[in-house]
Symmetry: C2
Subunit: 346 residues, 2 copies
Amino acid sequence: MTPETSGYKEAGVDLAAAEETMRRIEGAVASTYTPQVLRGLGAFGGLFALPAGYSEPVLVASTDGVGTKTVVAAALGRHALIGSDLVNHCVNDILVQGATPLFFLDYVAASRLEPAVVAEVVTGVADACRVAGMALLGGETAEMPGVYLPDQLDVAGTIVGVVERSAVVDGSGVRAGDVLLAFESGGLQTNGFSLARHLLAGRYAEPLAGDERGRTVGEALLAPHLSFLPAVRPLLGAGLVKAMAHVTGGGLPGNLPRSLPPGLGAEVALGSWPVPAVFTELVRAGRLPEGEAFAALNMGVGFVLVVAEGDVAEVRERVGPVAGVPARLHAIGRVREGAGVALIGA
Amino acid sequence: MTPETSGYKEAGVDLAAAEETMRRIEGAVASTYTPQVLRGLGAFGGLFALPAGYSEPVLVASTDGVGTKTVVAAALGRHALIGSDLVNHCVNDILVQGATPLFFLDYVAASRLEPAVVAEVVTGVADACRVAGMALLGGETAEMPGVYLPDQLDVAGTIVGVVERSAVVDGSGVRAGDVLLAFESGGLQTNGFSLARHLLAGRYAEPLAGDERGRTVGEALLAPHLSFLPAVRPLLGAGLVKAMAHVTGGGLPGNLPRSLPPGLGAEVALGSWPVPAVFTELVRAGRLPEGEAFAALNMGVGFVLVVAEGDVAEVRERVGPVAGVPARLHAIGRVREGAGVALIGA
């Protein structure tokens, strides 16, 4: 019994199948290894040589999960996207400070680990790591009988990135009048799922009314959490971006002010970006007042750049792709004196 | 509704109590901050300036959980130690490579987050971080209704440390005849709890037969996972330690060989260290064959140093304390040609 397979053996899973799963995971994990990953004996932890060329390297780290998006994924039997959702969420979180991803570690736990599900999740994690140019340096799978409900799992992860100290994006240059440029989220990303499940349970197989892509409710809920790294990377060296916000739990009102200096808030013009049908359906199903919807959901805005008005054209010109296609940037409002986020009627 | 408290509000918990809990956690977290922690605007990730003085810094990272020790902690209503268990487990995992801890991020998830429990766990995490000299740089608490069983929680964490590339302890100098010096674990650390719960369920309140400290079965199961960093740190600069092993899941046979070069194994003499009563009780209750007990449990050995015979006296002289008291080091065996771990009868 080796430590890698003991959990499977204890759970009564076919050991040969479990070892096959581990081999598949190993291949996916190894495919993410950059030259910085040092392999050697006795590795209880993953070893990563810091890239040369930083004079004052600042490490930026974040831990996150995908919330109960796992429950929807389990209901639909589609776990592959959960892995990339997790990675992209974390990539965006450290991108806000201007950091480049270095490595990632994942944590997958369940009452009983189903080899095929673990392989699907971890392969998704590895794929998104490779796209982000970072190593999947380590991870942990845990069988926790008596802690998790049957057929459910939790997926969390930790990212570590680096940024030169002088290049940290910290919002200090933000002024009233600066423009808010928004990337579309395309869906819930990884927040608001407890609310969404409450409102839309039992309707996952229904066609989603008004969905431009003809998806079911469940498919629209599982829309991937996009990475905005390829879009933002070309802007970072140029000093064109004063601040950024990743629109996660708490929505625009909860996340945008975190990026702004004291004394500054924002006004956001409703109708200035397309709201995906899944949000319209959630607002309708829950009869959610506007303020509540915006505080719980991203309402279609995935990530926000704060840019001087004079730089908007250059940002639009230089911005990179999102998920392989040209980014659509929407001017959704401005920074203003005050605090918080004011939603201005359409 | 701010992002920090939205989870509590959704769960119907008294918001004032939740905010009080958050304030308490914030204080504990802030108490871990070293001068390397940079605080500023827009911090979606934690910022940590790499300490100066490394010419080729290697980052060492590990993610781990405490397994179903959480279930025993929940049954006894004692969550404080779970936090330090988690941190110390991770500290030991990167210590094996000679790494010094830099920062930690924690993840606490449950069906419903009980503010008092979260505060207890996170305060325990922060306390152990402070002892290890590292910052609790970030973390995530997640409410996952529909994923976790009621009254259960999961606790995981990620450590990042650093070691100069030339000082990585990689086992390359290990030779047949080198001595294995073992630190006592004092208990299960954080592995073997699914087995222990299976064998000892319903007996947590019983006195533990033969326990030198007069504890109940439950108290002995919750014995803290010790940090061996203060003990090992004085040895690292001196090049006295050729390899190390942290005895976690898989026990001595699963962990010791990971530290040894190919072609080398170990022989371990039974009876050369004291086996705590909790292991004797587990072996008795489960009628566990020796091989199975050693593969599932640490059997009293927490951490192993591989040392040249000629350096043993100096190691014993220089070794630091464990949990504030002088370390007891036991010579439990030797490296030998071959593979695996041979247990030699008492």
